[in-house]
Symmetry: C2
Subunit: 156 residues, 2 copies
DNA sequence: TTTTGCATGGGAATCGTTCTGGTTTACACT
DNA sequence: AGTGTAAACCAGAACGATTCCCATGCAAAA
């Protein structure tokens, strides 16, 4: 219902596919999903939605600022809800887990660099790829580890 | 000739396609190229090289550490020679120009964040997208502007 | 409730990239 | 220089992700 007004505010009709997709992306455990992931989630819910529609809707959501698209290594896009606070990403190349962090100092330095170049920044992205703690320790991913939430890592 | 030994050192046979591709990437004005760009450059030179070969060779070069692959927005990969010094990128979404910069403070903070998470970082990339000075001022790109070289922007 | 036009679904098309299979080539060893 | 062999090549087919096409469906304005 609130979703419905979210869509209207973005200039989009509140259609069933759009509401369903928004609902899926809003689930807390669904932080980072590919279009395929969203499509499968819809099928699991028994919804008859075409893959083309999923892509179309996700792109519309991106343009409307509702979701953020990331181009991780490997060439496929992943999407996450835009919940306001900007953050950067750490991706485990072994287990695929994605951690988020925000570092004000990094943001500030980026701003400075752009200023120096006379560059007007629309968006920026910082990705680190590597192996997460769980993989290093036990050879399995640390999806259950007590980190990976926004703002969890703020050194100093 | 020196290219030939570069290849051997990387454990790759010094074949004509590889030498030609290396030669193209080494031209100073060819900083950031897609596989397609490289392919077209070869055709322009009158070389009979298949696109598949270009992709294969670029991937081999990447694995050998000779070139670096970037996943910019838009889903296509761009390649640049690995000239040793790590640097980050600023991309003008209007004219496509790519500027490079290096900020030790950002690097250090990244290292810290990874450490805090117990994450072993293999690679990292930082991209800023926006509009460059030339576009803002005159509506045309600033490819000829006196910046855009590595290390040009180091605030503070 | 009727109208109107944007949204949908499914399949085909497209894009960038990788694989396949048969042929050619670089290079170590005569 | 001559030759064997593994590696590299080419063209084209295959591939996965994404977008296009268009007849039909449906949200929302009248």
């Amino acid at each position: 219902m609130s979703d419905s007004t979210d869509l209207k505010r973005a200039g989009l009709k509140a259609t069933l596919p759009r509401l369903k997709i928004l609902g899926i992306l809003e689930e807390p455990r669904a932080r980072h999903m590919t279009a395929e992931d969203v499509y499968k989630a819809l099928l699991d819910m028994g919804e008859e939605v075409g893959l083309a529609t999923v892509y179309r809707v996700l792109t519309q959501f991106e343009n409307a600022g509702l979701v953020i698209r990331h181009n991780f290594e490997g060439g496929r896009s992943v999407f996450e809800m835009n919940q306001g606070g900007h953050h950067d990403h750490v991706v485990c190349v072994e287990c695929g887990e994605v951690f988020e962090f925000y570092d004000p100092a990094i943001e500030e330095r980026q701003r400075r660099v752009a200023e120096t170049l006379g560059f007007q920044v629309d968006s920026h992205s910082l990705y680190m790829y590597g192996v997460c703690l769980g993989m290093k320790r036990e050879g399995k991913c640390s999806k259950t580890a007590a980190m990976g939430t926004r703002g969890a890592a703020e050194p100093e």
